[in-house]
């Protein structure tokens, strides 16, 4: 139950490596924020600065309008879940969860109160049966539940999670992800969740903070991040399989804009046209991005298509993932839903076959080939 405000937060390590550059973010009360990015992008460092485990080199962090830069972790009223669970090996599950409560002073938490809170949390997490066990006798999923439980019992203002699901196997990860979504509604707290997994980011976050090399790339809702990526990096990072990119050229003929990709000449739709006009952009080298499921395989003779050769056809059941080599230089991925395909169409989509691909200009993304930024939608952050 707290707001967080990070203003120009910067982290410079002793060897002068800058891990986080001018990080600005306002987090609303009870919001679920996800920091996502490849390893080394500064997401964990930022989280650890919020927790008080890393010193803040520059800037301020406020929790509920109080600057916490110089507060010890224990005085910040935060709870944290670690990637490796960080359970105390010599204590039982019950004592692990009771530990933060036992340390509380003024007012001291009574034994009854501790019991009630631990049992309540254990109940929500379904670990009541293991309360008397030591952590080493638990499975990975159970350990992570205990670790979440230990954070839960404290009723703290902010709930931090540092890649909590990374050590679990794929099936358990999906299950725990769903449980965290459920849990989130049971705990009235502000969440900050760090992950390198874009699926976790998309499914969990109210807003996603995408980071790279210590810089924020974009802060927005999952849908907006997916639909209107700020730049090439975000476009490639969010969405799986990742977006396909083509070198292309933007041109203007009269009132209309066109994109040329190889032999294809594509008329830009009205919405994008108006924005381009407003920004007074004429001709430009661009990178065209299109998601694998937005490219269409053309089975009829069609002029305006690019040609490619299928290298691999991955049959996923409800869809096919086609790995296609375009013009002998570039590999792209196209997702084709199988439900509407005829038998002969399926045969035409086997490895080694040549196919034609169509673009829908409403579904394409345009990036400046120099700055790699989205030409149409670019939100400052």
């Amino acid at each position: 139950m707290a707001t967080l405000k990070l203003t120009n937060v910067k982290k410079i390590y002793d060897n002068n490596v800058v891990a986080v550059h001018n990080f600005n973010l306002d987090i609303k009360d009870k919001e679920f924020i996800v920091f996502v990015g490849p390893s080394g992008c500064g997401k964990s460092t930022t989280l650890r600065m919020i927790a008080g485990l890393e010193e803040i080199s520059e800037g301020t962090i406020e929790i509920d309008d109080e600057i916490v830069n110089d507060l010890q972790p224990k005085d910040r009223d935060i709870a944290m879940v670690f990637q490796n669970y960080a359970l105390y090996p010599h204590l039982t599950v019950y004592e692990n969860m009771a530990f933060p409560l036992r340390l509380k002073k003024n007012p001291k938490v009574s034994e009854d109160e501790i019991f009630n809170r631990v049992i309540n949390a254990a109940d929500i997490l379904g670990i009541t049966d293991y309360l008397m066990r030591k952590p080493k006798n638990l499975s990975g999923g159970q350990r992570q539940r205990v670790s979440i439980g230990r954070a839960m019992v404290r009723d703290s203002k902010v709930f931090l999670m540092d890649e909590p699901l990374s050590n679990l196997d794929a099936k358990l990860r999906n299950q725990m992800r769903a449980e965290i979504i459920e849990l989130r509604h049971k705990i009235d707290s502000t969440f900050i969740y760090v992950t390198h997994d874009q699926t976790e980011a998309m499914t969990l976050g109210d807003r996603i903070v995408i980071m790279k090399d210590g810089y924020i790339q974009q802060v927005d809702t999952p849908q907006n991040v997916f639909d209107k990526p700020n730049n090439l990096f975000v476009a490639g990072f969010i969405g799986s399989p990742q977006m396909n990119f083509f070198d292309a050229k933007l041109s203007k003929e009269g009132e209309d804009y066109y994109v040329e990709v190889g032999e294809v000449k594509l008329l830009i739709d009205d919405k994008k046209r108006d924005i381009l006009k407003e920004k007074d952009i004429n001709e430009k080298d661009i990178i065209l991005g299109i998601r694998p499921d937005h490219l269409k395989v053309s089975f009829e003779d069609n002029e305006n298509t690019i040609k490619g050769k299928i290298i691999v056809n991955e049959m996923m059941g409800s869809e096919m993932h086609l790995h296609i080599n375009v013009n002998n230089k570039q590999d792209i991925i196209v997702i084709v839903p199988t439900i509407s395909l005829t038998k002969s169409q399926k045969e035409a989509l086997q490895a080694g076959k040549e196919i034609d691909l169509e673009f829908d200009s409403k579904l394409i993304h345009l990036f400046d080939s120099e700055t790699e930024e989205n030409i149409i939608y670019k939100k400052e952050c």
Binding site: Q72, K74, M80, N84, A86, L87, Y88, P89, F99, R154
Partner: protein, 291 residues
């Protein structure tokens, strides 16, 4: 046919194994006999009552506890023994506290000069301690902590250098994941609470190892104790005291007493080791213990 060959080869192999095992055991047994002779001989001599002289045989002709009784009734041995025990216990306590907090600090905190300090102490530790003897004697003399007052002086000497023995326990603490410290600090613990509520319970082997080594140092020390007490009976420890009986003019009357004293000195250490050897071994092989 091939079965036969296989069997033969198998037989050959097992005979080979048996022979090499036998040889190894014979060597080991011989070594342990050689190694045990002095100990067995001292134990046996301590029960010899027909004479107090050094003699050419090992098994006593007349057995009895006379030497032990005399040791406690007629000599200063009890004083020396209590001196040694007192010194060793205090040193074990203080040194353990110093070593463990030092190691934990070096393992967890990052501060300017940390690397330098560690290397400096490592290099310093390579010099034999008794090089400092003359200086220490002068200092202790000024503090009036020599001769009859050697006990507090010795405690000071043993404890003062204890921070340098941080290496093994630091290695152990390094294997305990830092995220445990961080989790505890977020849970509301101070650095000190993290140390004694989380790290200490996980470090039993290294704590016991540290206590044992800290106890053993002063328990068997001769050089410093000899020098600082300078044969003043009320300041001596057992090693110096027993040694004083082996001089030319005393050895004839005190040799069997010396043996009895040696046995009494060995008893507590032996018991300690028998109880704690499991931890001791774990402590020495510290890195292998999972956090």
């Amino acid at each position: 046919m091939s079965m036969n060959n296989n069997e033969k080869r198998h037989m050959k192999q097992s005979t080979k194994n048996r022979i090499s095992n036998t040889v190894i055991y014979i060597i080991l047994i011989l070594m342990s006999i050689i190694w045990l002779i002095p100990f067995v001989s001292i134990v046996l001599q301590s029960f010899r009552i027909e004479s107090t002289l050094q003699v050419g045989y090992v098994i006593p002709k007349q057995w009895g506890l006379d030497n032990y009784i005399k040791l406690f009734k007629e000599t200063s041995f009890p004083i020396w023994y209590l001196n040694t025990l007192f010194i060793a216990l205090i040193v074990a306590l203080v040194q353990t506290l110093v070593v463990l907090s030092m190691s934990y600090t070096l393992s967890r905190l990052r501060f300017k000069g940390r690397k330098f300090l560690m290397n400096f102490m490592l290099v310093l530790g390579l010099f034999p301690g008794f090089l400092t003897m003359i200086v220490l004697y002068t200092v202790l003399k000024d503090l009036n902590m020599i001769m009859a007052n050697a006990v507090p002086g010795l405690i000071l000497v043993y404890v003062a250098s204890s921070g340098m023995g941080y290496y093994i326990s630091k290695g152990f603490f390094d294997t305990i994941p830092r995220s445990l410290d961080e989790a505890a600090r977020i849970d509301g613990a101070t650095r000190f609470q993290v140390f004694y509520q989380i790290i200490m319970p996980l470090s039993k082997p290294i704590v016991i190892y540290t206590i044992l080594t800290a106890f053993l140092g002063p328990w068997g020390d001769f050089i410093f104790a000899r020098y600082i007490s300078n044969y003043n009976s009320s300041g001596m420890n057992v090693a110096v005291g027993l040694w004083s009986w082996l001089q030319k003019d005393t050895i004839a009357q005190k040799y069997t007493l010396f043996c009895a004293g040696g046995v009494i000195v060995a008893i507590p250490v032996t018991i300690l080791f028998m109880c704690l050897q499991k931890y001791y071994v774990e402590g020495v092989t510290g890195g292998a213990v999972k956090g």
